[in-house]
């Protein structure tokens, strides 16, 4: 739960600078990880009417990427680049790019953006070149950070996975 001051700052930063700045502000203010901060920010923005509210449900999903660490990707991972100091280039790392919690429709939309189907496990190891980047950007509320991360990791040879979280 974010403090009232932090919630106000989240909304202000989202309006002025976008989703990424709001998430980074929460990370700096709370020490939370990227996924946790992202979820907290989205909850605040939903309450504030800044992100579209869609019919909810039980399904939670996420988009993961796995690949080799290198100079072109170190800024795109879950944590600040300093945390990866001393980690050799080529080390296999995993990163969470996007998640949807308890929302059937958004889960379906994310899958569709990625050329997958939520409940067809044959499609969950993604071909990232089939992704609809415009649709992905819209799903992220118009924020282009997700698409930038996705594109750069794809160019760096990362593998991408769609995942349905356990019930």
């Amino acid at each position: 739960m974010l403090s009232p001051e932090l919630r106000d700052a989240v909304v202000r930063l989202f309006d002025e600078k976008g989703l990424l700045e709001a998430v980074l502000h929460v990370r700096r203010g709370t020490g939370a990880g990227l996924a946790e901060a992202d979820a907290a920010v989205r909850a605040v923005l939903h309450e504030a009417g800044r992100l579209p509210v869609s019919p909810r449900g039980e399904t939670s999903v996420e988009l993961l990427a796995v690949g080799p660490l290198g100079p072109s990707v170190v800024e795109l991972l879950d944590y600040d680049a300093e945390r990866y100091t001393g980690v050799p280039d080529g080390t296999k790392v995993i990163t969470r790019l996007f998640d949807v919690y308890g929302n059937d429709e958004e889960s379906r939309e994310l899958a569709a953006c990625l050329g997958a189907d939520v409940w067809d496990f044959n499609t969950h190891a993604l071909d990232p070149w089939r992704a609809d980047l415009d649709a992905l950007s819209r799903l992220a509320g118009g924020d282009d950070v997700l698409v930038r991360r996705f594109s750069k990791l794809r160019a760096a040879g990362f593998r991408f996975f769609f995942r349905v979280l356990p019930p």
Binding site: G33, E36, R83, F121, F161, P166
Partner: protein
């Protein structure tokens, strides 16, 4: 917000793994042999201490990213069993919030380690994922 952690496995589906996946078997009625899946193997959502214990069980350092894609053969299965011992309750005891475990509770505590071994033997790759 303390640290939490999860161990994920990524690898090829086959029918023998049905009891050990994230979703019930009926969800995999059309999944083809060899389809690559992500499976949640272990979770430590309770805070830093449990997360660090889990990291030690699988032979990684919680914040050393070069250790996070780990060799599952190096995991300490005994430590993993101890990590889960007494931690889960069977469905009946969970509903009753029973303090003392029964045989079914103990089997529930064994299940995550059995899942890990089955996925390891099926050639899955494993990742320790900290969050904090």
């Amino acid at each position: 917000m303390g640290m939490s952690a999860e161990v994920l496995a990524i690898g090829p589906f086959h029918r023998g793994l049905l009891p050990f996946l994230d979703q019930p078997p009926e969800r995999h009625a059309t999944t083809r042999e060899g389809a690559v899946l992500v499976v949640s193997v272990f979770r430590a959502p309770e805070g830093s201490t449990r997360s660090r214990e889990l990291a030690a069980c699988v032979g990684v350092e919680p914040w050393d990213f070069k250790s996070h894609a780990f060799d599952p053969r190096r995991a300490d299965l005994g430590a993993l069993r101890d990590f889960h011992a007494g931690y889960f309750r069977c469905e009946e005891h969970a509903k009753a919030r029973a303090e003392h475990p029964c045989d079914a509770c103990e089997r529930a505590c064994e299940a995550p380690v059995e899942r890990f071994v089955r996925l390891r033997d099926a050639g899955f790759e494993f990742f320790f994922c900290p969050n904090g």
